[in-house]
């Protein structure tokens, strides 16, 4: 909210020496962040009030010119004509005897335009008579600014009169402090921050003339929604009456456009006191003005020109004929103040903040009024604010007071039992009881300190103060957060990270250590990405959680796989000129069970917050959510390792993708089983299914050419994705030490020719089992397909290492073990020794 310091000063004494920035500091200490300080107008130098003494019309020129003698006060005249300046002026909208604003030589006007004494049109012009536009405080007309007669004396400094040089604070107000969305509220806080007294304009009822006229009756159908409705009716209003410049200037400073006197005054009083007001053209009203619930099917054209369909949940102000306004949110077009309005009825009401908030949300309509009313406005303010409006309309609009009507249901006062030691217990240092009482009183509380537990009656303008803790906060806030000491609490002895948390870190470190770069992609995906990956229509990965309000229509879903995000990141890197890119991501995905809907349920559980939810409540809340396991995904193209000088680059292959998974398994002490797999978007002939103890937990290999083409990625890119939660859960964190035998080793190689569709790991497993306990290690070191083996066959070369625990092996023993392996492979796969 914009707050002109001069406006604040009407209600609180702020030393002239304090700059806007210093006032900001004070407010910051009590919880109001000032986001900026602006100065009104860009004018410097001697700007004074002048009285036009005489005007001589000069007619010898192409356009009419005036040669004026202006009284500018004894201090500002020149030697020849004490107190008087001769000024040449081209405007014609002023007369002798008018009070004007004179820029004396040396004044700098907006646009860095400095006034100097100069000869023009045959006279020495000794200053300038200013227009609103020239002063930079408005642009509605070109004419000279004329001050109200008698409002100032010649020679007076014009800056304060015009609001020039006034500093305007831009204050951010937290949603609990509705009262602070007004000069009244901010002045109170400024007073509290300086520990000075506050002159509350919100409790003084303006002296209105005796009522004389017909009063429009008021009614409220639901005191729960509107417990106070005050109407003030005024007649003989001059719709052409101008808004006084000082009011216009203030409204401009707070960011409100001037419309007409009556409307401007509703805004002015709202900013001054915090009470939203609405003025109706009284001649458009039929019968009683009533706060009531809208009927289904009713409509209202609001002031913004929108035709709105109302529901029975809309609180409206209506007369006997029609709906007049959306209560507390926005007025209607039919009854608005117009250029022909001569009778005004002003509504000032107190509404249930929740109802206003709901309407504002439902109609997506936030106004200055709704912003205040949904945060809570002083229940006692409507009569005061409406009287203030009437007073101003009478003074500036020539209106006469016709009368007041209203209805109300008195609220229950809020009384809080308050232990004065409580602030100390919360803050961790003691507060003197007198100090506590002083702070509460400065807020407007009535404090009864008779008993050890005090009775505190909170002020009507602080509906946010409802419990003892609210008062505690106020005491600590006003006394100053900086006075709270610092201590470090002692937590019970901890056990550090959980095993899973440590393992997750290790997984990330391992992958980065292998040369992969971590990315953190957005979780939003769309069906187009599933299509590009070639994921079939019935694949469960398409059963994805759906957002109600996605940022992009293309990506309304939550990811079930990390691959789309990785593909996007890889494509960005490629487009930026990189060819060797290896990316990984560790993030959760959301997996719906078959019976969970992508759009959630229609009647979700909402346990009471007045007690701990039951176990059944908690289960019901959890049941709303999809499973969200951690996944690990990686996508690689080009060389994983930098290519050595002179060497040929070795791009990552399907084998590297699998190896990344297997090596991570070894790091985490998990044996990952590899079998042939087939899942989009992988190449059906180059896809490994990864399992742990028979449980499928991921896939790795080369991506299908079509998917890569669709995604705009390089050919032969490889990827893996696995359920990291499963992998981490299987991790063996306590490795067993191996037995280290030191007798000599015997090495044997065998090459077995098998049919091409036989899995190498199956052959290895069989050889390993048959070779017996003397076999220390076996490793596949070559696969050959070609002229040396029969068509449709391949040769698998294994390196075997034999060792005994207690002796040097005899050549016959090794040969027998080796042969056992070969025989087993022959039996199982028809393998022949090559």
């Amino acid at each position: 909210m914009k707050v002109p310091v001069s406006w604040l000063r009407e209600f609180v004494e702020i030393p002239e020496s304090l700059s806007g920035r210093e006032v900001s500091e004070l407010l910051l200490n009590v919880g109001f962040e000032v986001e900026g300080v602006d100065t009104v107008g860009d004018v410097r130098g001697p700007l004074v009030v002048g009285l036009v003494k005489s005007i001589e019309e000069l007619t010898d020129f192409k356009k009419p010119i005036r040669w004026c003698q202006v009284e500018v006060g004894a201090a500002h005249g020149n030697d020849a004509t004490p107190g008087i300046r001769g000024i040449v002026c081209g405007a014609r909208n002023f007369a002798e005897g008018d009070l004007v604003v004179v820029a004396l030589p040396g004044t700098t006007l907006p646009g860095d335009f400095t006034i100097a004494t100069r000869e023009t049109y045959g006279h020495i012009s000794d200053g300038m008579i200013c227009s609103v536009r020239e002063l930079g405080i408005g642009d509605e007309h070109d004419g000279i600014l004329i001050l109200p007669a008698g409002s100032a004396a010649p020679g007076d400094n014009a800056f304060p009169i015009l609001g020039l040089g006034d500093e305007v604070l831009d204050i951010s107000v937290t949603p609990d402090r509705g009262y602070a969305l007004s000069m009244r509220g901010m002045a109170r806080e400024a007073a509290i921050s300086q520990r000075v007294s506050f002159n509350d304009p919100g409790v003084v009822l303006a002296d209105l003339p005796e009522a004389g006229g017909t009063v429009i009756p008021a009614a409220s159908d639901d005191y729960q929604a509107c417990d106070l409705l005050v109407l003030r009716t005024l007649g003989n209003y001059n719709p052409a009456a101008p808004t006084p410049d000082f009011i216009k200037a203030r409204l401009a400073a707070v960011g409100v456009r001037s419309i007409s006197l009556a409307v401007d005054l509703t805004n002015y009083v709202m900013f001054e006191l915090g009470q939203p007001l609405h003025a109706f053209d009284a001649d458009k009203i039929t019968g009683t003005i009533r706060a009531r619930w809208a009927k289904s099917g009713e409509t209202l054209e609001t002031l913004d020109g929108v035709q709105r369909n109302l529901t029975t949940e809309d609180l409206v102000i209506a007369d006997d004929a029609r709906v007049l306004s959306l209560a507390g949110v926005m007025g209607g077009a039919y009854s608005e103040i117009s250029e022909t309005t001569t009778r005004v009825v002003l509504e000032a009401a107190h509404f249930n903040p929740v109802e206003i908030a709901r309407m504002s949300r439902r109609h997506k309509l936030s106004s200055e009024a709704s912003r205040r009313l949904e945060r809570g406005v002083d229940r006692m303010l409507p009569p005061v604010a409406s009287a203030r409006f009437a007073e101003l309309l009478i003074e500036h609009g020539g209106a006469t007071f016709e009368g007041t009507s209203g209805v109300e249901q008195a609220p229950d006062p809020i009384v809080i039992s308050f232990d004065p030691n409580l602030p100390g217990q919360v803050a961790g240092h003691s507060y003197d009881a007198v100090n506590v009482e002083t702070i509460l009183v400065s807020l407007g509380c009535a404090v009864d300190t008779t008993n050890s537990v005090w009775t505190v009656r909170t002020p009507s303008w602080r509906p946010d103060l409802a419990a003892a803790i609210d008062l505690v906060e106020e005491v600590i806030r006003i006394d100053g957060y900086e006075k709270v000491p610092t201590t470090l609490p002692t937590a019970p002895a901890g056990r550090g990270l959980t095993e899973l948390q440590k393992l997750q870190r290790r997984a990330g470190l391992h992958l980065a250590g292998r040369g992969l770069v971590e990315v953190r992609n957005y979780p939003f995906v769309g069906t187009a990405e599933f299509d590009a990956l070639g994921i079939p229509a019935d694949d469960s990965r398409r059963h994805a959680v759906q957002l109600a309000n996605a940022l992009s229509d293309e990506q309304p879903l939550m990811r079930t796989t990390l691959l789309p995000g990785l593909a996007g990141a890889l494509a960005r890197n490629i487009s930026r000129g990189f060819t060797d890119v290896a990316l990984f991501e560790i993030s959760s995905v959301s997996l719906l069970s078959a019976d969970q809907s992508a759009t959630g349920v229609t009647n979700p559980p909402r346990p009471s917050v007045l007690q701990r939810p039951t176990a059944a409540d908690i289960d019901a809340l959890e049941a709303l959510l999809p499973q969200q396991p951690l996944h690990l995904g990686a996508l690689l193209t080009g060389a994983l390792k930098p290519t050595a000088l002179g060497a040929k680059p070795t791009p990552a292959t399907w084998s590297d993708a699998i190896d990344i998974a297997l090596a991570l398994g070894i790091e985490l002490g998990v044996e990952i089983e590899v079998t042939a797999g087939n899942l989009a978007p992988w190449h059906p002939g180059r896809c490994a299914a990864l399992s742990i103890n028979g449980e499928l937990m991921g896939y790795a290999g080369e991506l299908a050419p079509k998917a890569l083409e669709n995604l705009g990625l390089p050919k032969r890119a490889v990827a893996l994705e696995l359920n990291l939660s499963v992998l981490l859960a299987a991790a063996n964190t306590v490795a067993s030490a191996p037995a280290i035998w030191t007798f000599p080793v015997a090495k044997e190689d065998i090459a077995l020719v098998v049919k091409a569709d036989v899995a190498a790991t199956d052959v290895l497993d069989v050889v390993c089992a048959a070779a017996g306990e003397l076999l220390e290690d076996i490793r596949l070191f070559d696969v050959y397909e070609g002229a040396q083996v029969p068509e449709g066959h391949k040769s698998l070369a294994f390196a075997l290492r034999f060792r005994a625990q207690d002796r040097t092996l005899a050549a016959e023993e090794v040969a027998a073990a080796r042969q056992a392996g070969v025989d087993a492979a022959a039996k199982s796969f028809g393998a022949t020794l090559r």
């Binding site: 900086e482 201590t487 040369g515 953190r520 960005r572 560790i586 701990r612 959510l625």
Partner: protein, 369 residues
């Protein structure tokens, strides 16, 4: 070889005379030192210690000497051979050292061509700052708490004293699942992990919870619809706001250096009361740039303080909603944005760098921030 001649005096065998032996030795030694390679030295060794060398030939004469002369001649011969062998050994060592060092010179490479083999992997700074922060609090005895990113509205809002029509709910532009009535949201803050901790953990509770959160902001240089927070929560008997301040100062010093402090400014959050904004003392200028136009500070824009996060004492209503007795227990909570923290700590100027996955960005942070 001449036959034994028992009638001759040993001194008459000229080749065994001291003069002759000394001559052989000195010839050998000068030949040894003249040898310039191990190959030459091998020839020298043959010529001066081989079977046909003068010393060997002379040695054969000893057998023919009378017994009385043998000892003396033998001794002389031993000394001569010793001198030659010592010279040979010394020269061998010298020449071997020369050969070895020549080899090392020959094998020299341009070590600057070792570029391009450095590790190229890296971890995202958001990941590693989460770990760094967790470590600070784990060292204090805290536990690392986690929760789901798709969360029930009840945990994200209701239990945190953010009622359905509370203006605070509109402050946070929330992603809803399915419809606004589904009761499921993308968590707008890490605070639901507080509720999970209070519901599931035993008292007292000391937890730190980093995580990904979501708001419906479009991506630009300072906003992202997906970002990260870290949240701390303590629930124990007698926890005070002083404890909160002390913990925040400890956190600030652990992350930004000795002596760095925090400042609390009154604010409002539905789930804490009292509530405060946390400002961090500028860790670059430490406030010296304030009102000092000659030494402006880019990190804090010469304000001396950097907005860091929010905090407060856990609102008793939140304790009640999770079944904790506010008459016995109290607590504090605090939360910070991790992107923001990284931005001002590491001089990251554009939020998009943290989102796009450009390998240059992540590699710059290596394996940890």
């Amino acid at each position: 070889m001449s036959a034994p001649n028992k009638s001759f005096d040993p001194v008459e065998v000229t080749t065994l005379s001291p003069e002759a032996l000394a001559g052989f030795v000195s010839e050998a030694i000068s030949a040894i030192s003249a040898a310039n390679s191990l190959e030459e030295l091998k020839d020298v060794r043959l010529a001066h210690t081989g079977d046909r060398s003068p010393l060997s030939l002379a040695n054969r004469e000893i057998g023919a000497l009378p017994p009385a002369a043998k000892a003396e001649a033998g001794k002389r011969m031993g000394e001569s051979r010793g001198a030659v062998n010592a010279a040979l050994a010394a020269r061998t060592q010298e020449l071997e050292a020369l050969r070895d060092s020549a080899l090392l010179i020959e094998e020299a490479v341009d070590v600057t061509t070792a570029t391009g083999v450095r590790a190229q992997g890296g971890r995202h700074p958001i990941t590693t700052i989460q770990e760094q922060i967790a470590d600070v609090f784990v060292a204090l005895g805290y536990q690392l708490a986690e929760g789901p990113e798709i969360e029930s509205e009840w945990l994200n809002f209701d239990a945190l004293n953010i009622a359905p029509d509370h203006p605070a709910r509109t402050m946070q532009d929330t992603f809803f699942i399915g419809s606004e009535d589904s009761g499921i949201v993308l968590r707008t803050h890490t605070s639901p992990v507080q509720i999970r901790s209070m519901l599931n953990r035993e008292l007292p509770i000391y937890v730190i919870c980093p995580g990904r959160v979501f708001r419906t902001d479009e991506l630009d240089s300072t906003h992202s619809p997906v970002f990260h927070q870290v949240e701390g929560l303590v629930i124990d008997k007698g926890i005070t706001m002083a404890d909160l301040k002390g913990t925040l100062n400890h956190f600030a010093q652990s992350m930004f250096g000795e002596g760095i402090v925090t400042r609390l400014r009154p604010s409002y959050f539905p789930f804490t009361e009292p509530s405060a904004e946390v400002d961090l003392q500028c860790f670059v200028c430490r406030g010296t740039s304030v009102d000092n136009p000659d030494a402006p500070c880019r990190t804090c824009r010469s304000e001396g303080w950097i907005e860091w996060g929010g905090c407060g004492m856990v609102n008793p209503k939140v304790l009640v909603a999770t079944g904790i007795d506010p008459e016995i227990y109290s607590g504090f909570a605090f939360g910070m944005g991790l992107e923001r923290t990284l931005m001002f700590r590491h001089g990251i100027t554009d939020m998009r760098d943290m989102v796009e996955g450009d390998v240059r960005f992540t590699r710059a942070f290596g394996l940890g921030v």
